[in-house]
């Protein structure tokens, strides 16, 4: 039968039954009671083997299976490469540009769902007491909101942008492993579907926050397993993509593209990929241990049986702190591109910009326990972790000051990508400064686990990451779609999002410091006015994003045809047509200089021999 969604559906069903059969037969033979243990059947059948069946049915493994079974593999077969109609976006496609768009479209579906969940629980928080839902539902909405936003929106949205841009910027025809690239993408909707499906589980969705601390997580209803396993699929997707980026960046740079001639977006994704590959196995381990405690009755985190409760937090944060940089370094790369191009100046201090990324990478692994200052860990760990955390402000500061120096005396174009870039710098500085308060142990002891934390992470992840994602989408929109978005709507989107974002999250600093803990379905009456204000602002924030979707959808369908290089940028993706040819370059370009040589007379980044960029008349 032909690969596709029909085959995927019945393969998923078949593989679920296979998983269930393995569990039931082992339990039956061993004489374990009950034979039908739905915790185990869900973990193995529904959350492990069924997704493998889905991928198999979809055709993600076809090529490798042909090869293994000795059937002809057609190495030069490009039938699954490139998009010639909308249906090609719903297949296993090996074109990095198609995969980039698949990533972005998928992640924005999860962004909308996660955002709607936030508005639901903000509605509950508009007044003290419980109005619309019970506390299990509330805790579930908070947890699924965070899981969607972190694991299947921000991290993979950056992977999507990089998937589209990095091979083009390197002068490469595609990623190093296109089939692996296709597989990594298709792992992602599986993870997102698991997070969402947990609402259908008996007892409700996982409800222990995205941090999912043991031992609470080991004794929750079955929905918790959907988080434990969803993280595995999202993590596998991240790791495979990161390996692909590393190999692509190391081996597929165009001739002349030395490391010191790579655009900073490529540097950023190189660093991020290293972080992903080193750190992600730790969260995979932490979630497996919690799940084993539950379904296999191990005692990793069961204190009565010799388990060590704080062990979970150490393993979890050893990934989840570097994850913060996984969610911001690609954004740094995007902003470096935009600030340089839109200021018409070379990026200030290029080498230090690249080295500061590596500085953050190294320091990022020495700060995880700053999430645990009140956790009860060894006292002596607190001061060293505080110092290393504070020192991360140094490479981060280098980046901010270098962007500012790039603006200086430039010829600034204040279009939508640039507005988002400048908005990002201002908001990220606030998020970074509130991070200094949290690094200081005595202040953190007061502010930890309060709404101050909620404010801080939203300044970093929304004011930081999400604004850079918007900036990147507007910047590469003409290259991706071949059409131009509406500047007027883009500016409306920026200003409404920027203002309502601040109105939503800035008051949270205050309400946290004066005494409101986070992750609470109910609160003391004295916080009522501020919470009502925050709820109203959050609805405005939700509404502001509608403009973005309207702009993107209408412009993609009917926007004016884009030029190949509307920003007059030097990097390679702008030297080919919009959208680029199926294999990117008709002839591999020769790189002859740096990527940001604006204002240098006669400077060029690369020479394209064969195809001069075709200037499409607007």
């Amino acid at each position: 039968m032909r690969a596709g969604f029909v085959r995927a559906a019945w393969c998923a069903g078949l593989f679920f039954l296979i998983g269930m059969y393995i569990v039931v037969s082992i339990r039956g033979l061993a004489g374990w009671d009950p034979v039908y243990d739905w915790n185990v059947i869900t973990a193995v059948g529904a959350l492990t083997t069924a997704p493998i069946g889905f991928l198999l049915g979809l055709g993600a493994f076809d090529y490798w299976l042909y090869w293994i079974s000795g059937r002809p593999t057609r190495p030069e077969d490009h039938s699954g490469h490139g998009a010639y109609g909308w249906k090609d976006y719903f297949k296993v496609n090996t074109d990095h540009k198609v995969i980039g768009v698949q990533y972005l479209a998928t992640t924005f579906v999860f962004f909308v769902l996660g955002g709607l969940m936030a508005m639901l629980f903000r509605a509950e928080l508009a007044q003290p007491g419980m109005q619309f839902m019970d506390t299990q539902t509330y805790n579930g909405l908070v947890s699924v909101h965070a899981a969607l936003m972190i694991f299947v929106f921000i991290i993979p949205a950056f992977a999507g942008l990089a998937n589209f841009a990095v091979p083009l910027m390197l002068g490469a025809p595609d990623m190093a492993f296109p089939r692996l690239n296709a597989l990594s993408y298709w792992l992602l909707p599986i993870a997102g579907a698991m997070f969402l499906a947990s609402f259908l589980a008996p007892g409700g969705a996982f409800a222990t926050g995205w941090t999912s601390y043991a031992p609470l997580a080991s004794e929750q209803p079955i929905g918790q397993i959907f988080f434990n396993m969803g993280v595995q699929w999202a993590g596998a997707s991240s790791i495979l993509t990161a390996l692909n980026f590393l190999v692509t960046i190391i081996t597929m740079r165009a001739p002349g593209m030395t490391f010191w001639r790579m655009p900073l977006l490529v540097w950023a994704n190189f660093t991020t990929s290293l972080l992903v590959v080193i750190a992600t196995p730790f969260i995979a381990g932490s979630q497996f241990f919690v799940m084993f405690d539950r379904i296999m009755h191990t005692s990793f985190f069961v204190p009565d049986e010799g388990g060590y409760v704080l062990g979970y937090q150490h393993i979890f944060w050893f990934y989840s702190h570097p994850a913060v940089y996984i969610m911001i370094l690609p954004g740094f790369g995007i902003i470096s591109e935009i600030v340089s191009v839109m200021s018409r100046k070379p990026i200030f201090g290029y080498r230090l910009m690249a080295l500061s990324l590596l500085g953050i990478l190294v320091l990022g692994f020495s700060v995880w326990a700053h999430h645990m200052f009140v956790a009860g860990m060894a006292d002596w760990l607190r001061v060293p972790m505080m110092i290393s955390t504070l020192l991360i402000a140094v490479p981060t500061g280098v980046k901010v000051f270098s962007w500012l120096a790039t603006l200086w005396e430039g010829k600034i174009r204040l279009n939508t990508p640039m507005l988002f870039a400048l908005g990002f710098i201002s908001m990220f500085v606030i998020g970074g400064l509130s991070g200094i308060y949290l690094a200081s142990v005595p202040i953190d002891i007061h502010a930890s686990d309060t709404y101050f934390i909620v404010a801080h992470i939203h300044y970093v992840l929304f004011g930081g990451s999400v604004l850079t994602i918007f900036a990147g989408i507007y910047y590469w929109f003409p290259k991706m779609t071949g059409r131009m978005y509406s500047e007027r709507l883009g500016k409306w989107h920026f200003w409404l999002t920027f203002v309502s974002f601040n109105l939503t999250f800035f008051p949270m600093h205050w309400v946290g410091l004066v005494g409101m803990p986070r992750r609470v379905a109910d609160y003391a009456d004295r916080f009522a006015n501020l919470n009502l204000f925050v709820t109203i602002s959050s609805f405005a924030l939700g509404a502001s994003v509608v403009i973005f979707f309207y702009n993107v959808i209408v412009s993609w369908a009917r926007g004016p045809i884009a030029e190949s290089n509307p920003w007059r940028a030097m990097t390679l993706e702008w030297q080919v047509s919009s959208p680029p040819p199926v294999f990117n370059f008709d002839e591999i370009p020769q790189v002859v200089g740096g990527p940001y040589e604006y204002g240098v007379p006669g400077a060029r980044h690369a020479v394209l021999k064969g195809a001069a960029p075709q200037e499409t008349p607007a």
Binding site: Q136, N139, Y213, P215, L216, E219, P303, D304, V309, L310, S343, R344, K345, P346, F348, G349, Y350, L352, V374, A375, G376, V383, M386, I387, L390, L391, A393, V394, G397, V398, V400, F401, L404, L407, W408, E409, K411, I412, R413, L414, L422, I425, S426, I436, A439, S440, V441, P442, I443, I445, H446, D449, W510, G515, P517, R519, D522, A524, G599, A603
Partner: protein
């Protein structure tokens, strides 16, 4: 540009000063936290004003005209500037770090003669024990003014966290290990202890009342509680065990919503087909046996039969059933 910087700095300073960012301090530890807080704030205002001034000034001054297609000057960097903005922030954050380390050490010291209080947390209640006062048990945290209190804490089930916002200090209670924290109350009054670590269904309302009394009043309170206080012993257990944080019980003025109301025990016992005292006792020591409509199993702790003596449970049953008749 300097002008813009000054304006931004003044605006941000007004925001910092006019809004009461921190609760009115009620402990010596919170005073020190406030000092670090303001030290960091001064530095942060300076940095924020500098960044915003450069952005606003650049956008106003260096904006290109729509038809201007020229490039800016090809400035690639400036070693001196790069050294400055690497070294200066490093010095500033190390200064914050040193001050923080000193304050952390001061805030962890309980002096020579601390009052010791044991704290037990479980879903979703707090219990306190005063080992130096004949193991006095209480569901309300009562502290003397001006004396350092060393809390020795643990949890029976999942992780909870101890925080009295006005006193600043916070510490998780972790099953399987003991954690410590020091608080030195500096003004009398009533406060609320809140749980700040997500611990399940009742997390949002897992609170306990806190009172700071003068040393004389504290001694009097201890004495009264040790002599039984003349009150109903069942009521004392009700308070000490924190029943009211989950259950509504009018006689005790409790209005918790996590578990079923205790105002109608007779009707519930009838439904279960048991005499009221038997049903009530069983529901305390073995809460999973009969689950009230609309509530789920596994929420109420099942160890009250062990943490309280048979005599105390008897008194509690009499209090819960008798108060209605």
């Amino acid at each position: 540009m300097a002008g813009i910087g000054v304006v931004v700095a003044i605006l941000v300073t007004l925001v910092a000063v006019l809004i009461p960012w921190l609760p009115t301090s009620a402990s010596e530890e919170m005073d020190r936290i406030e000092f670090v807080f303001w030290f960091a704030t001064v530095i942060c205002i300076g940095i924020f004003a500098l960044v915003m001034a450069v952005i606003i000034y650049s956008v106003m001054t260096f904006r290109a005209a729509p038809e201007d297609e020229s490039d800016g000057p090809s400035i690639h960097g400036h070693t001196g500037l790069e050294v400055v903005w690497t070294v200066v922030p490093a010095v500033l954050v190390v200064a914050i770090g040193v001050l923080s380390a000193v304050v952390l050490s001061q805030n962890g010291s309980a002096g020579t003669n601390p009052l010791k209080v044991k704290v037990f947390a479980q879903q979703f209640a707090w219990r306190f024990e005063y080992p130096q006062q004949d193991k006095l048990k209480s569901g309300e945290l009562v502290l003397p003014l001006g004396r350092s209190v060393e809390f020795d804490m643990t949890s029976a089930d999942v992780i909870h966290s101890f925080w009295i916002p006005e006193m600043g200090q916070k510490q998780d209670l972790v099953p399987g290990i003991q954690t410590k924290i020091v608080v030195t109350p500096k003004r009398t009054g009533t406060f609320t202890l809140v749980c700040t670590e997500l611990c399940g269904l009742g997390h949002a309302t897992m609170r306990a009342p806190v009172r700071v009394l003068s040393q004389a009043d504290f001694a009097a309170w201890v004495k009264e509680r040790q002599s039984g206080g003349g009150g109903d012993p069942g009521a004392a257990v009700f308070t000490a065990a924190g029943c009211g944080s989950c259950h509504t019980f009018s006689a005790a003025g409790a209005n918790g919503k996590i578990g079923p109301s205790l105002d109608n025990l007779a009707a519930a016992a009838k439904q279960a087909g048991q005499p009221v005292p038997v049903y009530t006792r069983e529901s305390i020591v073995n809460p999973g046996k009969v689950i009230a409509n609309g509530y789920s199993d596994g929420v109420m702790p099942n160890n009250y039969g062990e943490s309280y003596s048979a005599k105390e449970i008897d008194a509690l049953v009499r209090y819960l059933t008798g108060a209605k008749q």
